[in-house]
């Protein structure tokens, strides 16, 4: 699902585009997506609403609002979009996804330090040695807290 919507709004993040134009397009895309998905649902009548009535009507409002934002922004101007922090996005979300990929497969003992180490690189003033030590210590603390103290069923070691 993440590829479907996420790819689209990225296109607006170039330099010099009005922020509200981007915002409007973002809403229009979401609106179109929901219209497409809810098109086949029965809409029913006001007296007995069908499943599709609300998604359709809200999506229409949202899309109209998006168009309004674009028009107003083109007429009045306003703030421009700033470049996104790609480094932060990549390493923070990457760390989270790495955690998801490894936690069941290898257990928290690997997933913890791995995802934390990876995420540490999201900032330019990363100190790898410090980050590695911190990641290991934090993971040990989390295992103690979540597994032993609170008894959550999170896998710790699965590869032995």
């Amino acid at each position: 699902m993440s590829e479907q919507i996420s790819g689209e709004p990225d296109k607006e993040s170039g330099r010099g585009i009005l922020q509200d134009v981007g915002a409007g397009v973002f809403l229009i895309l979401i609106s179109l997506f929901f219209l497409w998905q809810a098109w086949d649902l029965p809409r029913g009548s006001l007296r007995a609403m069908g499943a599709g009535m609300l998604p359709m009507s809200i999506a229409v409002i949202l899309g109209a609002g998006g168009v309004l934002l674009v028009i107003m922004s083109l007429v009045k101007g306003g703030e421009r979009l700033t470049t996104p922090h790609v480094r932060g996005l990549f390493f923070v979300l990457g760390g989270l996804i790495l955690f998801g990929l490894t936690v069941r497969w290898l257990g928290l003992i690997v997933a913890g330090p791995l995802s934390m180490m990876f995420a540490s690189f999201a900032t330019a003033d990363v100190r790898p040695v410090e980050a590695a030590i911190f990641a290991v210590v934090m993971t040990a603390f989390c295992i103690g807290l979540f597994k032993f103290l609170l008894g959550l069923p999170i896998p710790i070691i699965t590869f032995i």
Partner: protein, 499 residues
């Protein structure tokens, strides 16, 4: 006296060893997340939800509530010492609080903030206890049309109170409502917009959504705009205000408490407005308004009391009507539902020990917070010196474990990543996420009530205007919206948020 016997029962519940400990734990964690800028109560509560699974519902809610109002206390510590609002409601405190700190009066500022908050907390507790029963009775008269209109009013408030463009905030509400329609339709059982993903047939989960937007997107935003932390180097000094400072603060505290308590009840996160209103009022009433912004003690005492009072009275719509006024309260709904309690007017009659226990625990928690905050302030200062490059990986791992543990689901982790991306895009596009979250939270209930009301009225929308209570609520919402959109008012609103 009914209130007193009820409160006595509440204290009986709250004073058990387990509940005292949970209350203390909640206040500690709350102070911690309040002190640390960039970790909000929403992400924290979402992340700690799995921990409460093993507790009984009363204990769980006592702890979660402690986190929430504890964060309000902690937020002011950061505001005073570092000039960064630890929480959104502490923004105003930075103005005069940090100036006081620079003049070497940090201790007094902290002391007044804590004592004012404590007083406000006590009053708000009584306020909830007194209003709880009548409001509950009133709520039982509500039909679906009234419920729907009340929620409309709440959502309108949330857009008026959000920062930035009202149109954009309004559209965020609609986006939230739209997201809430995902999942199986309650009446016909049809799947809506689920993309064939099995997990989505129950709807979008609140925790991944909240955690993605308020936890992870925030981290990226903080990495993008590193905040200069100017931790006060001078001594904190005497914690207790002297007699003339107390005399100066009494009235602002009283006024702040009153404003905060009343605004806090409004559905739609009125609590955030309290500190602003109180600050503006003190500045107007002061003999010499030019002192404000240069370390006026009234500018700390009033808003701090307002903020804490509002934080607590925000429980009223949740406990009496079952309508969460902000994102934290939405998580409380989640916590209650997990434990099989449906929030609403019936909580008080069906689970009186939960209702009154929680209220009593708030008073105890407020007393604990004075101790946690004042003598232990040195610890919090040390914590503020932990660099962000270490803090955010720690937040990441806590959130990851938390989100995974709620349903033991890896898919939830991926959903969180997806919503983090969407949340970051929204921040970039200048959208305020809070109204969206509120729309999402109220969406399901609103749809249900709307359909019921329309079935009763045979498809006629006039039912919302014909019924007096419903019509009044809608009229209030409309008036608020119009006032906020008037050019003169919108300028004032911009100023208020800029300050």
């Amino acid at each position: 006296m009914d209130i007193f016997s009820n409160l006595a029962m509440g204290f009986g519940v709250a004073f058990t060893l387990q509940n005292l400990f949970l209350c203390f734990l909640g206040c500690m964690i709350g102070t911690l997340v309040g002190v640390l800028p960039g970790v909000g109560p929403v992400a924290t509560i979402a992340m700690l939800l799995p921990i409460t699974f093993g507790l009984d519902p009363t204990g769980a809610l006592i702890m979660l509530a402690g986190i929430y109002y504890g964060a309000q206390y902690g937020g002011s510590t950061t505001a005073i010492l570092v000039n960064i609002p630890g929480e959104a409601t502490a923004v105003v405190t930075t103005l005069d609080g940090h100036q006081m700190a620079k003049q070497g009066r940090a201790g007094v500022a902290l002391g007044v903030a804590a004592l004012g908050s404590f007083f406000a907390g006590c009053v708000a507790t009584i306020f909830i206890a007194a209003l709880g029963a009548p409001l509950t009775r009133f709520a039982q008269l509500f039909g679906p049309a009234e419920y729907f209109s009340l929620m409309v009013m709440g959502l309108v408030f949330s857009t008026v109170l959000a920062r930035g463009s009202i149109l954009k905030a309004l559209l965020m509400v609609f986006l939230g409502l739209l997201l809430a329609t995902v999942g199986t339709d309650l009446e016909t059982g049809q799947e809506r917009v689920t993309l064939g993903i099995q997990q989505l047939s129950d709807g979008v989960d609140f925790a991944p959504l909240a955690m993605g937007i308020f936890g992870f997107a925030e981290i990226i935003r903080n990495l993008e705009n590193p905040e200069a932390r100017d931790v006060v180097r001078s001594k904190i000094g005497n914690l207790l205000p002297n007699w003339s400072e107390i005399k100066q603060s009494i009235k602002p505290v009283l006024r702040g408490t009153a404003i905060g308590s009343i605004l806090g009840i409004l559905p739609g996160n009125g609590a955030v407005l309290g500190p602003f209103a109180s600050y503006a009022m003190e500045k107007k009433l002061a003999k010499d308004p030019s002192r404000f912004g240069k370390g006026a003690i009234e500018g700390v005492a009033g808003p701090e009391s307002a903020n804490n009072a509002g934080a607590q009275t925000a429980f009223i719509p949740l406990l009496t009507l079952g309508i969460p006024p902000n994102a934290v309260m939405a998580l409380m709904v989640g916590a209650m539902t997990i434990h099989g309690i449906i929030p609403g007017p019936q909580v008080m009659t069906k689970n009186p020990e939960l209702f009154w226990g929680m209220i009593a625990s708030m008073w105890i928690g407020n007393a604990m917070l004075v101790i946690i905050n004042l003598p232990l302030v040195g610890i919090w200062v040390k914590l503020l010196k932990v660099p962000y490059r270490l803090m955010f990986p720690a937040i990441l791992i806590f959130c990851s474990i938390g989100i995974y543990s709620i349903n033991n689901s890896i898919q939830d982790v991926y959903f969180t990543a997806f919503f983090a991306l969407v949340g970051y895009i929204m921040i970039k596009l200048g959208f305020e996420p809070a109204p969206m979250l509120l729309g999402f939270v109220l969406g399901k209930l609103m749809e249900e009530k709307l359909r019921q009301a329309l079935i009763l009225s045979r498809g006629s929308f006039t039912t919302f205007i014909e019924r007096p209570v419903s019509a009044t609520l809608l009229a209030v919402a409309l008036i608020m919206l119009v006032i906020a959109l008037l050019p003169a008012m919108s300028k004032k609103r911009d100023q208020a948020f800029q300050e």
